[in-house]
């Protein structure tokens, strides 16, 4: 009984983020290796240059073969011209479009869908199986200040934006499969239009939220000594003894960095899509859509995992509510940080609430609090 209890404790003590992330990465690589990005089919249609039944080939055969091979000979090679000035008007056949369609229809939609569903399913499974991770020894009633106002503002700002972007983005990606049967074509059309327009407007704000996130959280997310150990022990799962963890554990740091980097990828590709037809050609746009979608699915999965973790581990949410956590929670999950911060607090000897309003904090943070 003791052993069982212990092992369950160990599971909960590790920040489950990591194991999930490992799973994601495996799935993604499996997916990518099959995707046409890597295994692109080179041919467009069959290059059957049939000669005419009379044994004489039609001159058009040459032309179409040249179009397919994308080489017309002559000094201009594969470039063709048109009196129409719009971008891409002088292209005969947009071969990339075919690849893009295959990627989107045959890979992104099915596998992306399975991926998301399985992630959510898996997390639900974990939620059901593992239930809640209680604070050992219950709440102490004493709280420790953990996050500043601006940290929470920037976090929730990002939550709102990413949530909104995810919702609208998923509607655009899977709406045809999921929402049209429910809403009908006309019903979904204006939902999709609303999604698209607002997705475009809110997109650039994500960049702001990423910046705020970086400013307010980067100090806690630099790699530290215990991180590698933490990772190798899968968050303490494989470790015999309780790990002493600073402000954030390696899993949380990974969450942070994944969010930032995926955010950067999403921002760059998103901007490319917001400014179409400037410098980049359609091929870039297509690539941008593909990358944008993959990165978004990953980020959404990570966000789900993050939510699951918060829901699962009692007391974690407190930090984002009013910035304070229970002392016991802090002792258990982030013991090193707890020790450091209590030492500092003792020196100041002020109550957490007072400290929150005092200017010492704001000086420390470099901004008003």
């Amino acid at each position: 009984m003791d052993a069982l209890k212990r092992s369950s404790k160990t599971i909960t003590s590790l920040n489950v983020n990591l194991s999930l992330l490992v799973c994601f990465i495996v799935i993604i690589f499996a997916m990518l290796s099959f995707s046409p990005v890597f295994a692109a089919e080179g041919k467009l249609g069959n290059s059957n240059t049939a000669t005419h039944q009379l044994g004489v080939k039609s001159p058009a055969t040459d032309l179409w073969r040249a179009v397919r091979n994308r080489d017309f000979g002559g000094s201009k090679g594969m470039s063709s011209t048109s009196q129409i000035k719009s971008l891409g008007a002088n292209t005969f056949i947009n071969v990339k479009g075919q690849e893009w369609r295959k990627f989107r229809q045959n890979w992104l939609l099915p596998y992306g869908g399975y991926f998301l569903v399985s992630v959510v399913g898996f997390l639900f499974f974990l939620y059901v199986v593992i239930k809640k991770v209680k604070i050992p020894n219950g709440r102490s009633g004493k709280s420790v200040s953990r996050l500043s106002t601006m940290q929470r503002v920037s976090h929730w700002f990002m939550v709102i934006l990413i949530g909104f972007m995810a919702l609208t983005g998923l509607l655009l990606l899977f709406g045809r499969l999921v929402a049209i049967p429910v809403l009908g074509l006309d019903g979904f059309a204006f939902v999709a239009s609303a999604s698209k327009e607002s997705h475009n407007v809110f997109g650039p704000l994500v960049i702001v939220s990423l910046l705020l996130m970086l400013i307010y959280f980067i100090q806690h997310n630099w790699p530290a000594k215990g991180d590698i150990k933490w990772l190798f022990s899968l968050g303490g799962l494989l470790s015999k003894k309780h790990l002493k963890i600073g402000f954030f554990n390696a899993g949380e740091k990974l969450l942070f960095w994944f969010t930032i980097w995926l955010g950067v990828v999403l921002s760059i590709t998103g901007l490319l899509l917001l400014f179409p037809y400037y410098e980049q050609t359609e091929a870039y746009t297509q690539l941008a859509i593909a990358i944008h979608a993959i990165a978004a699915l990953l980020l959404i999965a990570i966000a789900f995992a993050h939510v699951w973790m918060v829901v699962t581990i009692e007391g974690t949410m407190d930090a984002m509510k009013d910035g304070n956590v229970d002392e016991n929670w802090a002792k258990y999950h982030h013991s090193r940080w707890y020790e450091e911060t209590t030492v500092a607090n003792k020196a100041l000897d002020v109550d957490a609430h007072v400290e929150e309003m005092s200017s010492s904090e704001s000086r420390k943070e470099g901004v008003y609090q």
Binding site: Q83, I84, K85, L185, D186
Partner: protein
Amino acid sequence: MKLTKTSNKVIDSSFIDKKGTAQRAAGEALSRRQFLRSSTLMAGGAALGTTLAPGMMKKAEAAETAKGNIKRVKTICTHCSVGCGVIAEVENGVWTGQEPALDHPFNKGAHCAKGAAIREHGHGERRLKHPTKLVDGKWKKISWDQAINEIGDKFLSIRKESGPDSVYWLGSAKHSNEQAYLFRKMAGMWGTNNVDHQARICHSTTVAGVANTWGYGAMTNSYNDIHNSKAVLLIGSNPAEAHPVSLLHIMKAKEENNAPIIVIDPRFTRTAAHADHFLKIRPGTDVPIIWGMMWHIFKNGWEDKSFIKQRVYGMEEVMQEVAKWDPAEVERVTGVPEHKVQGAAKAMAQNRPGTFIWCMGGTQHTIGNNNTRAYCTFQLALGNMGVSGGGANIFRGHDNVQGATDLGVLANTLPGYYGLKPGSWKHWARVWDLDFDWIKGQFDGGSYEKKGDKDVHVMNTKGIPVSRWIDGVLEDKKNIGQKDNLRAMIFWGHAPNSQTRGTEMKKAMEKLDMMVIVDPYPTVSAVMSDRKDGVYLLPAATQMETYGSVTASNRSFQWRDKVMDPLFESLPDHTIMYKLAKKLGIADQLTKHIEVKNDEPVVEDILREINRGMWTIGYTGQSPERLKKQQANWGDFDFTSLKAEGGACDGEFYGLPWPCWGTPEMKHPGTPNLYDGSTSVAEGGLTFRARFGVERNGVNLLAEGFYSAGSEIKDGYPEFKADMLKKLGWWDDLTADEKKAAEGKNWKTDLSGGIQRVAIKHGCAPFGNAKARVNVWTFPDPIPIHREPLYTSRRDLVEKYPTYEDRKSFWRLPTRYASIQAKDYSKDFPIILTSGRLVEYEGGGDETRSNAWLAELQQDMFVEIHPRDANNAGIRDGNDVWLETPEGAKIKIKAQVTRRVDSGVAFSPFHFGGHFQGKDLRDKYPKGAEPYILGEAINTAMTYGYDSVTQMQETKCSLCKITKA
């Protein structure tokens, strides 16, 4: 919210017939053609068809659908000379739809970019909207009455001070036949021969060269007749862009007859892209390349010896000249190697009949008349003349340049090529029922030139040609062959940017007392000069807003119906002419036998008067009634022969191609192919015209052993006169009335048409049966020879092939040749500059550049240069460049680096205008009337150079240098 996809149920596959063309269900409800369609568009060309923008907080308003009656109007495209049929759908007076005329014998519904966009006439957004006058550099709206009064007063005062020749009447190939005729007649009544139009700068050398070879200066066969050709040779012609619908016919010959298509051009044109054989010559070497081909023909004995013997005069002299052009010399001069020349010659020789097509690439040279005669000689040598599938198919430019030429809007002739001799004036005085002396009195009294010792009356002196009006203004008064300089110009449907020497033209425009521009668009004339006043813009209606007849390139008449009433305050040309004539006090004479309703002369009456006088070229049988009947039944005519089988016009050829002999009552079917002896004259057959006498230096000029089918005279014969009828014993075939009219007259001047009728009755051509002459002894070069262009890059050839001596007085003006060629510009200006057309635009382009559908397709004026020249000058595709020519003009355009042109040659289209030497003149247009697209006119930079017979301008061969801007 239920989505209904109604189009699922409306489509029925029964509409497609075997030919893949549409079958029209008679009386099909055209309910879609909502009036809304055009009215909303007129309100500003809103983005219809794409968005139904309800506005942010506004409900989408259901459009009102007013269903009117749809009228289908048959009319003819006003762009090029092919004469494509157009069906306009008109609703409540608004042109709402354009349908292809799938049964039209010329185009079978086909259109090029311009024809397919002609409904834009119905919008006229960028039209000149009301009479406008320039006051202190600002455009001011005025009334028609004020405009006519002010213009008329000024004309009359100029007349008083400087004589009638100081007003220049510049007419248009865009006029209908009737308007062109009225214009020429009006100039005559005003008392001047200073009247001309675009034919001068388009095909005047053709008319002169061809008419002097075999009688008539027109396209001999038709576009449709090319179906019968076994070979097609195009020189200086790019129909894929200039006459795209003609390719419909050429392709048919290519595909069905295996006809080799041979293109000779300095530029790899879009036509050349579809040719079997392409000879890239140096610009201006047409004669050498033709003689080079004939060198092979004569060497191999491929010429049609019996044809030459029977029907050609002077071929021996040509052979002597041709002998000088051995392959080495041809390659040295033209740059085309022997095997290519031989290939072309052999293809033409082995595939007969072959047709020969040329356009402005051949005509617009200082030796343009030599070029055209060389072409004729080539066809004569191969015996390709007077046969179906052969002929000299001279594609003309504007929709009615053939008609306007025929009707004498020229400085050297009266309607019907009667010339300016007293007899000609007397003939027309009789037709007009006017006193000859009154007409004579309208002219300036004195004399400008002498013939022998005798003074020639001004009325019989050639006027200043349009190509030289600039010099008529700028040249020192003592050097010009008339009383005073030109002081007022009337540009009636003329784009000045189609003329060379733009910098001097600007000066000339500024020196004039007054400029009157009558046009649907302001044209470049309105903005080119820095005048502050004295410019009047009068809004003319387009041909879609009036009616009348138009002559296609193949001499076919077509009747245009009026599609809609004139837009804005515009008026039809003939109404404006009448108003002006009334002001000038010549209206009564002008319309003596023409009914006038509300200041608008009745068009049918004008055509009937034309019919009464135009005996020379058989413009006499095409009465308005016959033309309207043909128009109503245009589906009855055969696509290849143009002959109606059955139906109301049984046996007639489409458009009654002239000559349509005799009176309308004679019911001559028209002449589809000129000089074709295989059918009788009564059925459209013909012989070469006996125009140059019966013998020269003891050599018979009449045909020998050749006569048209059914001819009772089985040999050559001269033109018919009253006396000749008597001698032949045919006099009594005339009726009593005819005898009275014919007495002492000939086939050209017998107003009863009796002489023609009787000649044809006996199977004879009224104009005789002679040989074609390849030695035009009245021309500076009787046998066509090569002469280097004035601005030539090949100084090594100048000595052997020099140009002409300067002339003191030539068409009233001094004209320079040798003095220009004497100076070597080829060092500073190493690139040959040539010009041509684009498919989207036409002429000076004011109309087409104002058409949004077309303008979008060509947004920049450009110059094509070879990659080698571009690299040498550090120019990349799309760069802005300065193009400079030896006479000091400098224009800023975009470079298009392409291998279409050879290294050392640059090509530019001539349709642009509205920029001048790097300056954008958009602000100078009257508000709302500026074309969508402006650009430098290449003719601003084009240099001096005029044909030795007709004063055709040289636009195909000058020198330039191109530098990066």
